[in-house]
């Protein structure tokens, strides 16, 4: 007869809330009274590892417990580093020399970056250059692009414009049967380009890592 595992796995939020409630000598009823958050919600926050609370209820609880939201829900940097995936970082110059069809197989790792996201083995990174995608993507932002991720309307993509033989990172707009690419910076007035049939969408953006100077 197989043994049933009764041990319930609690989330970081569950454990931290219980710990802080204990430290500040609060029970469910008193915390609910002070914070204005329903008893059921607090009970769920304490016991349900999959609960998805609103920020407003978390803030109300944090105010009473005298802690910040990041102290309650923040994931430790060391824990994040455990699930990191190393991906190659390519320069725009190297990218231009490559055959669009064979990216990222052709990439010889010049440098690497890490991501904690679940990505395919056809993922690579490029560094944002220029101001065309401000304010969301400042110059120097690391763009993690996945070739296997399917593109959708308003997503951000890396495309190759065959007529100019250049790679561009832009927002994709789909108005079937046409596709357009757009620079999101409002300062770029003529910022919409229609994608021709021979132009290729190389990969879709999955993560942007902002680099602070």
């Amino acid at each position: 007869m197989s043994k049933i595992n009764y041990a319930k796995k609690y989330s970081t939020l569950n454990l931290r809330l219980c710990e802080n409630m204990h430290l500040n000598k609060y029970n469910i009823t008193s915390l609910s009274k002070e914070s204005g958050v329903a008893i059921g919600t607090i009970q769920k926050l304490m016991t349900d590892p999959h609960c998805n609370p609103t920020l407003s209820s978390l803030e109300a609880i944090c105010n009473v417990l005298n802690i910040s939201v990041s102290e309650l829900i923040g994931e430790n940097k060391n824990n994040r580093n455990q699930n990191q995936i190393i991906i190659p970082l390519v320069s725009w110059e190297t990218l231009t020399e490559m055959n669009a069809k064979k990216i990222p197989e052709q990439i010889k790792s010049e440098a690497t970056v890490t991501t904690s996201r679940k990505v395919s083995n056809e993922t690579f990174a490029v560094k944002m250059n220029g101001n065309s995608m401000l304010p969301l993507f400042p110059d120097g932002t690391l763009l993690i692009l996945d070739k296997q991720k399917t593109y959708y309307d308003t997503c951000y993509i890396l495309a190759k414009l065959e007529t100019h033989n250049i790679f561009v990172f832009k927002q994709l707009l789909i108005d079937e049967p046409y596709k357009y690419i757009k620079a999101i910076n409002p300062a770029f007035k003529e910022n919409i380009t229609k994608l021709e049939a021979k132009d290729k969408i190389i990969a879709t953006l999955v993560e942007a890592q902002i680099q602070y100077k």
Partner: protein, 160 residues
Amino acid sequence: MKILKKLYGWLNFLPKNSFKIVEITGSTQTKNSSITYQVCGTSTTTTEKPEAIVDALMEIKGFSKEDSQLIYRMAITEKQAPNLKITNIVFDENQILFEIEDIQLQSSFKLPAEEIINSQVLINSLSVTDVIIVHFQYIKKTELENKLQKKPQVIQFDRI
């Protein structure tokens, strides 16, 4: 007059200040700066945060004018530096999440733009550049939602 000038020269030669900065570590932007200062004439050194030195007004009087200004400036910059910063933006078909890092706690959490905007605490703790990024994304999302709502429905003529 000559005697006075000589005396003034001697006074300048003698050490005026009790403390001097010997090392600065960390960064005010990451709120982990610390100042190592030395008690003049001895090998005794102490390391403290700029804010702590400013609080101890007696101690700041013992520093030179330049050192005092530096300590004040560091304390102010550190206090004004944002507590939170956006490190990553995660893109998914369903939503875009901002990964926010607590600079002091070195921990992070992910939230969508609308939740960040609704929280005054979070907005106040982020830098101006980060707030612009969040606002921009929020406006983009709202624009898209409005556009989708306004999209005309396809009329089925055979049913009329």
